[in-house]
């Protein structure tokens, strides 16, 4: 389980660093793009029957911040949600083979 956790941490940090555009402040367009990407990833996780509750919560927080006009916060939350969704996809795909390691034989 330790290895799995480290993997996710690596994936998360990798995704977080790679996904940021070089812009100072977030605009509504930035938010919309980030939210769409996060939502799409979460839907893909849904197809794999492996969505995380924290992904949904973070998406909701992003939307709430956007509704209040705080697009910096909203974009950041949306990007975090995308990272979470992608990690849940990674989990589902890697577990397809790794589950056997846990099996009692």
């Amino acid at each position: 389980m330790r290895n799995g956790m480290l993997n996710f941490a690596l994936v998360l940090s990798f995704l977080a660093s790679g996904a940021m555009p070089a812009r100072a402040a977030g605009s509504e367009d930035d938010f919309k793009a980030a939210y769409a990407a996060a939502d799409a990833a979460n839907k893909e996780a849904g197809k794999l029957r492996n969505q995380w509750t924290t992904t949904a919560n973070t998406l909701a927080a992003a939307k709430k911040a956007a509704d209040a006009g705080d697009f910096d916060k909203a974009t950041a939350s949306a990007k975090e949600a995308e990272a979470l969704a992608k990690a849940s996809i990674f989990q589902a795909t890697s577990e397809k083979t790794r589950w056997k390691e846990m099996e009692i034989r």
Partner: protein, 288 residues
Amino acid sequence: MKLRSAITLASAALVIAALTLAGALPSGAADKVDPVADAKAFRKFFTDKFPKVKLEDFVNGPYSMNEDLYRQWQEKEQFPPYEFSLEMGKEMFSKPFKNGKTYADCFPNGGIGVRQNYPVFDDKEGKVITLELALNRCREANGEAPYSYVRDEMAALTAYMAFTSRGKPMDIKIPDDPRALAAYENGKEYFYTRRGQLNFSCATCHVQSPGERIRAEVLAPALGIVNAMPIYRSEWSGMGTTSRRFTTCNSQIRGVPLSPQDDEYRNVEYYLSYVSNGLPISGPGARP
């Protein structure tokens, strides 16, 4: 000719891809599904880990893992908290539907002393049918609205049916049908697959850590874990079904739960029940 072979190849590829995605084919090339060997290994794992626990006592979950809990539970069993639900279940079970029929008409032996046979593989449908599913289908077939899978009425009905089977050994059958084997294997895969942000599988708690604590709770071993269902949980201040436990376990590890009676849940119940064959039905149960 070229077009036809191209289409055949494409369809074959699609079928293989679909089967692989659905998990119907085991991932290992040389692995053959052997439930008998699985069950033997499963039982041995737990009896080796807890040599002082009698085989039939594994169905008592955390109480067989901790002496103090066991003593408190024995006392409580004199006046068990599931008594009210059990009584309600008995009444509900014998009350006819609006069309005059009863639950007894839907089940073998009138539904009495049959709980240990569920989940059962239905060859017409090609899927596993759990007791909860069978009860709701009985309702719908007789013009009644289905009950929620996680709440009181379903818990009361399954409590009564479990009670009529108390002491009987779990007796799940896997017929010689590739679809039944696939359901069993799918259930096994679900059990060991890690999920949720906390990256836990069912096995993480119930195979790797039985007898140890998660926060304040003592973890139950996976062997015999479904035999006590449905349960009155002090944490819930009420009864809960197998469906309730599966969905809440999922959300506790931060995984969005599937819908009760989704294929994965039916299959994992099939797997868990099969590997606990021979252990007595102890339901309805009480848990912390």
